[in-house]
């Protein structure tokens, strides 16, 4: 649903659920006022996410702070019959921890790009809208963020 993706995008940007809620609410009120100007035939989600991201960034600017995005793995709920072996589970769990730790060492901008594209699974156009950059620069920004993530993971292994 749009409300979920809007809220999570604002959360990735602000790092705070309370700020994300306010930003998403304000964004939807603004989207409502701007709905008559929405260009017919244009994709809706990037348009909406641009408004959401602007609201989220305005909130950070106004507050003069940005909370650190707390990334946690949810309590595991394995479907019946798909329980991995203890060794496999340990490996997967170690990989996750390693990845989360490496993400924690990245800049906010890199984490934001990765979160939008891979965690929220936004399209390139939606990621560009959320990051406030041109669609053409999404690929290069992500590529640099992934390079730095790889470096962080290697540094963690060393």
């Amino acid at each position: 649903m749009h409300q979920t993706i809007a809220f999570r995008t604002a959360w990735v940007i602000t790092g705070s659920a309370a700020d994300a809620e306010e930003a998403a609410q304000d964004a939807f009120v603004k989207a409502h006022a701007a709905l008559p100007r929405f260009r017919t035939g244009a994709p809706f989600r990037p348009w909406l996410l641009t408004i959401v991201a602007n609201e989220a960034r305005n909130r950070i600017k106004a507050a003069g702070r940005r909370e650190r995005l707390a990334l946690r793995v949810a309590e595991e709920r394995r479907p019946g019959g798909a329980v991995p072996s203890p060794e496999a589970a340990l490996l997967v769990s170690e990989q996750r921890e390693e990845l989360l730790a490496a993400l924690g060492r990245l800049s906010h901008a890199d984490r934001e790009a990765i979160a939008c594209r891979y965690f929220l699974e936004l399209s390139e156009a939606e990621t560009a809208a959320a990051l406030g950059c041109a669609r053409g620069t999404v690929k290069s920004r992500l590529s640099r963020a992934l390079d730095r993530l790889r470096s962080q993971m290697e540094a963690g292994d060393a």
Binding site: E21, Q25, H32, T40, F44, V73, L120
Partner: protein, 271 residues
């Protein structure tokens, strides 16, 4: 997709996200209370200029609520519909979404319109006064569905000269009526890029005309989700707001004939 990107996508699906708050209710409340019309000092002139007229604004509030609440539910419920909403139209009682892709058309099946009654029995059972198109006279059959609060009325007209059968209903006209104010998003339409969707006014009241190409009609359940068994193909449709009532006219007629029928809607004789 390279391994690192696959790992990130997998991790994203396992992350714990803060629960999504009930934005739809809060935003609709703010919009209805006129939050958008009372911006902070210094910006009021610019903001007021872009506000649409009150009737359109009300339709937009409903459209927005539906966007927040419902967009994506159709998507999740119908395999093959994986696109974002391209266009969105709202009226009290119904929403229309234009999408790049549509689901596979379901087979045509008999309509479930409820129990057959007389017009005066329907008037006694319903929580609103039935509207009958005087241009066509009394309907050939009248049905009432009672499950819906306020009830739902269906008027069926057999084909006649100048008014052929619609391939979707085998009727010349199927007119459905229910309390749109009680069920702001009860019926939905899913249209593809080739369908003409036009917002208009009928007797000064908001209306939507949907014509051509394949499009769908469905009811939403109490949870707001599409009821798959209710998804069916629709022919040309005019949706009209008449006070508290949403009137839906479906047939093989063109826009002019639909408007003529709509203009002739009047409380059933004897009411």
């Amino acid at each position: 997709m390279p391994e690192l990107e696959r790992m990130l996508t997998r991790l994203g699906r396992e992350l714990e996200y803060p629960p999504t708050p009930d934005l739809a209710r809060r935003v609709a409340g703010r919009v209805r209370a006129g939050a958008a019309a009372t911006p902070p000092e210094g910006r009021s002139r610019a903001r007021r200029r872009i506000l649409p007229p009150a009737s359109l604004r009300r339709a937009l509030v409903l459209a927005l609520v539906a966007l927040l609440l419902l967009a994506g539910t159709v998507f999740a419920a119908v395999p093959g519909v994986r696109d974002a909403v391209l266009e969105f139209f709202g009226i009290q009682g119904a929403t229309v979404e234009r999408r790049a892709q549509l689901p596979e058309p379901p087979e045509l099946r008999p309509l479930d319109l409820g129990g057959r009654v007389t017009l005066s029995e329907a008037a006694a059972e319903l929580d609103f006064t039935p509207l009958v198109p005087a241009a066509l006279g009394d309907p050939d059959a009248v049905y009432v569905r009672r499950e819906l609060p306020g009830g739902e009325l269906s008027l069926a007209y057999r084909p006649r000269p100048g008014l052929p059968a619609a391939r979707t209903t085998r009727l010349a006209l199927l007119a459905s009526e229910f309390r749109g104010d009680l069920h702001p998003d009860l019926v939905g339409k899913l249209a593809g890029p080739g369908t003409r969707i036009e917002q208009l006014q009928v007797g000064g009241r908001p209306a939507i005309w949907i014509e051509g190409a394949q499009h769908f009609f469905f009811y939403r359940g109490p949870d707001g989700n599409l009821i798959e068994s209710e998804l069916r193909l629709a022919q040309n449709v005019l949706l009209i707001e008449r006070g508290r009532v949403l009137v839906r006219l479906e047939g093989a007629f063109d826009r002019g004939r639909a408007l003529e029928i709509a203009h002739s809607l009047a409380p059933s004789p004897g009411e």
